[in-house]
């Protein structure tokens, strides 16, 4: 992890609840991969700025510039300088030879998966995105038109669910913290039934975004329950193979 500065170059309100910030960043940050994020605090905090750094998730990369998507409620202005620690987290592991990616988002915005979807689609991968609960309120114009979009119901079912689950050669799921383990376990159980003898590594991963204290792996406050090793959302995550999770 490096400690650098970033400059807010542009602020765009993209929906009632979301804004995009274009950040001029150091070259080292251009190595950032989908799943990795920035740990940010204003260089000159305003009253009410949180004490801890915030996790900001890139949705688009350009040479020397990163676009992040964050809630609109806090006010930022072009010209502001940020203190940035990055990268936080590990790249989302992508299975080799992947052709068909299934993304399932439940109760939260799909922001953390947007960069991955964009990069894989440009490499020819087919992406299907299942949105449920609050996730359906995400502004569709922010999604690439090539993504196939399905809607899940309150029982976390969507049209031709078994077909899409069978079709995919990798599944990533993101759910709101309050029902996260429930959703992930449900999905994991369904997949284990579909492939009782063969659930390969990284076939299905859950994304974990607890509030981070250190963001560095030091405080262990972001531990994800696991049957074996210690798994930390901030350094091993955000994507954790659901095979390793203790439900």
């Amino acid at each position: 992890m490096k400690h650098t500065q970033a400059l807010i170059e542009r602020v765009r309100r993209v929906s009632d609840h979301l804004q995009h910030l274009d950040l001029a960043v150091d070259r080292v940050l251009m190595q950032i991969k989908p799943g990795q994020s920035l740990f940010v605090t204003p260089q000159e905090p305003a009253a009410g700025s949180p004490y801890l750094r915030e996790q900001w998730i890139p949705v688009e990369l350009f040479p020397g510039r990163i676009t992040v998507e964050i809630p609109a409620r806090r006010v930022y202005a072009p010209g502001q300088i940020l203190s940035v620690m990055a990268p936080v987290g590990s790249p989302i592991p992508i299975r080799s030879g992947i052709q068909r990616l299934l993304l399932i988002v439940e109760g939260v915005y799909p922001t953390p998966l947007m960069l991955l979807a964009r990069q894989l689609m440009s490499g020819g991968v087919a992406v299907t995105l299942v949105l449920g609960g609050q996730a359906t309120e995400y502004p569709l114009e922010l999604l690439s038109p090539e993504i196939e979009i399905l809607r899940s119901d309150t029982g976390w079912k969507w049209p031709e669910q078994m077909d899409t689950l069978n079709w995919a050669d990798q599944v990533l799921v993101l759910a709101a913290a309050n029902r996260q383990m429930e959703v992930y376990r449900h999905l994991y159980d369904v997949l284990r039934q579909l492939r009782p003898h063969d659930l390969p590594d990284h076939l299905v991963s859950g994304l974990f975004y607890p509030r981070l204290a250190c963001g560095a792996g030091a405080c262990q406050a972001c531990e994800v329950p696991s049957n074996k090793d210690t798994l930390l959302a901030c350094s091993d995550g955000p994507a954790i193979d659901l095979k390793k999770v203790q439900f």
């Binding site: 400690h3 150091d26 004490y51 509030r211 250190c214 963001g215 030091a218 405080c219 262990q220 329950p225």
Partner: protein, 322 residues
């Protein structure tokens, strides 16, 4: 040379009075290796370790406070045996002396942990953490368990609310040095879940409470005292030294601004006196070096050495890229 435990057979001696507090810096400091030059620290203190492995607490673990944070981790750690297996080699080769923090669960467990550490190479000392309600008897039994099973120098970290009584009990039982104080507990509402959450509270406003406890303990202490609680600057750290502390532990500012740990250590270690006049700010704000601004900074060629130049670092140039 700063003695952190009473002089005797096996004193704990460090070269710089600044170190991280337990729980802030991981088990071996490796998480901050890119951001903090560990050779500049007086010591590193590990996260709390217990006999048995422990997992993180359920429910919200990190809740924002006004100018601070409440943290309830549940003392997650791999247990002493796995910790030694995982981190022992790095402890032995650490650039700063390693003080292993043991959570004083029961005297029997403390005894087991202490004898495991006794067999382990390259550990500078043990810091024993007490729970908030620990009675003088309980303190004594835990300290005896550690002392009877290890020759390692022993520090005891006392709770803020009972700092003076606990410090007295600890030094009477043979503690070599005292850490004052473990942060207090609080309860706050987590707005995300709506739940009331209990945990330790941290922030710069903790400093006055801790500083007072350090002053009180220093008054009765017959062993060295390490001050800890809310330190966010070198001036904060100096206030603890002036109040009678031999050294200080830095807490949550490490999470928000990791390089401050090194800045405070360099500052209290007098290291800034040796820097080249006109050195770039990033030598004093370690880790800030690799930014896009650096190219621009380099156009400010260092001026020729000037013996009358002030020893405070120059501010970061304010110019920005267009």
């Amino acid at each position: 040379m700063i003695e952190l435990t009473r002089s005797g057979k096996n004193p704990l001696v460090i070269e710089n009075p600044v170190m991280p507090a337990a729980g802030m810096f991981g088990f071996d400091g490796a998480d901050y290796r890119d951001l903090v030059d560990m050779s500049k620290l007086g010591a590193i203190v590990t996260n709390p370790i217990t006999w048995k492995a422990r997992h993180a607490a359920h429910g919200p673990r990190v809740v924002p406070l006004p100018s601070g944070v409440l943290v309830h981790t549940g003392l997650p750690n791999p247990g002493i045996s796995r910790a030694i297996k995982q981190y022992g080699a790095r402890w032995a080769h650490s650039l700063a002396p390693v003080i292993v923090h043991l959570a004083a669960t029961t005297p029997a467990d403390v005894a087991r942990c202490a004898s495991a550490l006794e067999r382990c190479e390259g550990i500078a000392g043990i810091e024993l953490g007490l729970h908030d309600q620990a009675s003088p008897d309980e303190i004594r039994l835990n300290i005896e368990a550690a002392l009877n099973n290890s020759q390692l120098p022993l520090l005891v970290c006392v709770p803020l609310y009972s700092a003076v009584e606990s410090a007295r009990a600890a030094q009477d039982a043979g503690a070599g040095g005292l850490v004052v104080a473990a942060p207090p507990r609080g309860t706050t509402r987590d707005l995300e879940s709506g739940q009331l959450v209990g945990g330790r509270v941290y922030g710069p406003w903790l400093k006055p409470q801790a500083l007072r406890a350090v002053g009180q303990v220093a008054h009765i202490a017959e062993v060295p005292v390490i001050g800890s609680g809310g330190i966010h600057s070198a001036d904060d750290a100096r206030d603890f030294i002036e109040a009678g502390a031999a050294a200080v532990q830095v807490d949550t500012v490490i999470w928000t601004n990791p390089h401050y740990l090194e800045v405070i250590a360099r500052n209290l270690g007098g290291l800034e006196l040796t820097r080249a006049v006109g050195a770039l700010a990033d030598e004093w704000e370690p880790g800030m070096g690799q930014t896009m601004w650096m190219a621009r900074h380099s156009q400010f060629a260092p001026p020729p050495p000037d013996e009358n130049a002030p020893s405070i670092p120059p501010p970061m140039p304010p110019d920005l890229p267009e």
